[in-house]
């Protein structure tokens, strides 16, 4: 896999099809991969691809890296399914030009959630990592554990609908079809079966851990507003202290802003220092939009996001008769 990826990137440089390739490289810690920006064929060997490559690389085309797109360079980008959906979203929202990108898809079986690994090692520092087919061996000072991949894969990946890039120019490996929707939204169905009191208490319990660091927003590929509503002072939408109603409004407001635009990469949940279950609310909105409007973000470059379009005769059962 990695060799194929490196060869492909080298070929792209040799054929002068790209000026830069964004991919993942070896990180400074054994559990992490770091984004790399390659500008010539020699550097292609720094590229890696495995379960550690959790960053959604699409963010490097917006936010503070907008100059990369503005420079008009031909950019190659290595993507998982979710990253490729972000790229489609950017193209739909006129943030990038599709023709300036070379999208290199890779087969993805999910990425590691470092927090889950830390739970397994009981907080002990991981110094050594070996990735096998089905399991991962982590070692450190005085310990070594073998963990099944399934147990440390990010929750979002466990409920992923499109693991392989739906839109790509090149693909390393064989792209697979989308997963079954029933499996993807099962956690939402289960949560809906609870009573309103149970749902509310569970939400309050979960979100009261939030310290409002806004890491989820900062890492989110769909959150690229120049000024976020939480940073506005006039009007001040939410109070600055981590008070539970303000926190819930922040999360619900953010979810409404990314409704129909969220590509379900799970970057928010992996970035969360308080280990909040962000998946639950997030998937609910994805489910609602998929069921009502038969729409999923980032699959079709010619389709507008669900909340930016409408259909005249659609179901309006939630409106008073």
């Amino acid at each position: 896999m990695v060799k194929m990826l490196r060869d492909t990137v080298r070929k792209l440089f040799d054929e002068k099809k790209v000026d830069m390739v964004i991919g993942w490289g070896e990180g400074t810690l054994p559990l992490s991969a770091t984004p790399v920006f390659i500008e010539n064929a020699d550097e292609a060997d720094t590229l890696i691809w495995d379960e550690r490559c959790s960053n959604n690389l699409a963010v490097y085309l917006t936010k503070d890296k907008r100059h990369l797109v503005k420079s008009g360079k031909k950019i190659g980008i290595v993507v998982k399914g979710c990253d490729s959906r972000s790229l489609v979203l950017y193209a739909v929202e006129n943030q990038i030009k599709r023709e300036n990108l070379v999208v290199i898809g890779v087969t993805c079986d999910g990425v590691i959630d470092i927090k889950k690994v830390m739970k397994r090692t009981e907080g002990k520092e991981v110094l050594d990592l070996r990735i096998g087919d089905k399991d991962i061996t982590v070692g450190g000072r005085g310990f070594e554990t073998v963990v099944a991949k399934k147990e440390i894969i990010s929750d979002f990946c466990l409920h992923c609908a499109h693991p392989d890039a739906p839109v790509h120019d090149l693909f390393i490996g064989q792209p697979r079809p989308a997963n079954e929707k029933a499996d993807v939204y099962k956690i939402v169905d289960d949560f809906e079966k609870l009573s309103a009191d149970e749902r509310w208490n569970s939400m309050v319990e979960s979100y009261s851990k939030c310290v409002r660091c806004y890491a989820c927003r900062n890492v989110c590929p769909s959150c690229y507003c120049n000024e976020c509503f939480v940073d506005q002072n006039d009007p001040q939408w939410i109070g600055k202290s981590p008070e539970i109603t303000d926190t819930l409004i922040f999360h619900m407001g953010r979810n409404m802003h990314v409704a129909g635009r969220c590509v379900e990469c799970g970057a928010c949940e992996r970035a969360c220092p308080a280990d909040i279950d962000l998946l639950l609310l997030n998937k609910k909105i994805a489910k609602e939009i998929s069921e009502r409007f038969n729409y999923e973000a980032g699959l079709d470059i010619d389709e507008k996001p669900a909340l930016a379009s409408y259909c005249e005769n659609e179901k309006q059962d939630f409106i008073m008769g």
Partner: protein, 140 residues
């Protein structure tokens, strides 16, 4: 103790529902005095944050009313609003807020009678559900 009187925020579109409320007034149709009206240019102007914020600041319920589908002064404002509400309402219900607290309706400028019915219905619903406790700042 006297009966619970819900405090309801009515967000009405300038072109239809606000005129409908006006017609109800000039026609001297009786309806509960529980609503506080905010006039907005179009139901499409309603940000989901308006609704969450008003629940947080102590309203027991929010009624958003706009022109009937197809009658929007700006052609598509209420269609866009409908999509937003279609996601917002299930989401609030999902986190455990009573569905009666967030209501949407279409009332035209000629439907004074209907406006009165809508307000009565929302008020009755909220009297049944009782005072808001969730998402209210300082309460929960």
């Amino acid at each position: 103790m006297s009966e619970f009187q819900p405090k309801i925020l009515a967000i009405l579109c300038n072109w239809c529902s606000y005129a409908g409320a006006d017609l109800a007034g000039v026609s001297r149709i009786q309806y509960p005095p529980n609503i506080r009206v905010v006039r907005i240019p179009c139901s499409g102007r309603v940000d989901p944050l308006f609704i969450m914020k008003s629940l947080q600041s102590g309203f027991d319920g929010v009624l958003v009313s706009g022109c009937h589908p197809g009658d929007c002064h700006y052609l598509s404002g209420n269609y866009n609003a409908r999509r937003k509400f279609a996601v917002l309402k299930p989401m609030l219900e999902y986190v455990g807020i009573e569905p009666e607290r967030i209501q949407f309706s279409w009332v035209s400028a000629g439907e004074g009678e209907r406006f009165a019915q809508v307000v009565s219905k929302v008020t009755e619903d909220l009297k049944r559900v009782g005072p808001a406790k969730r998402l209210v700042k300082g309460v929960a």
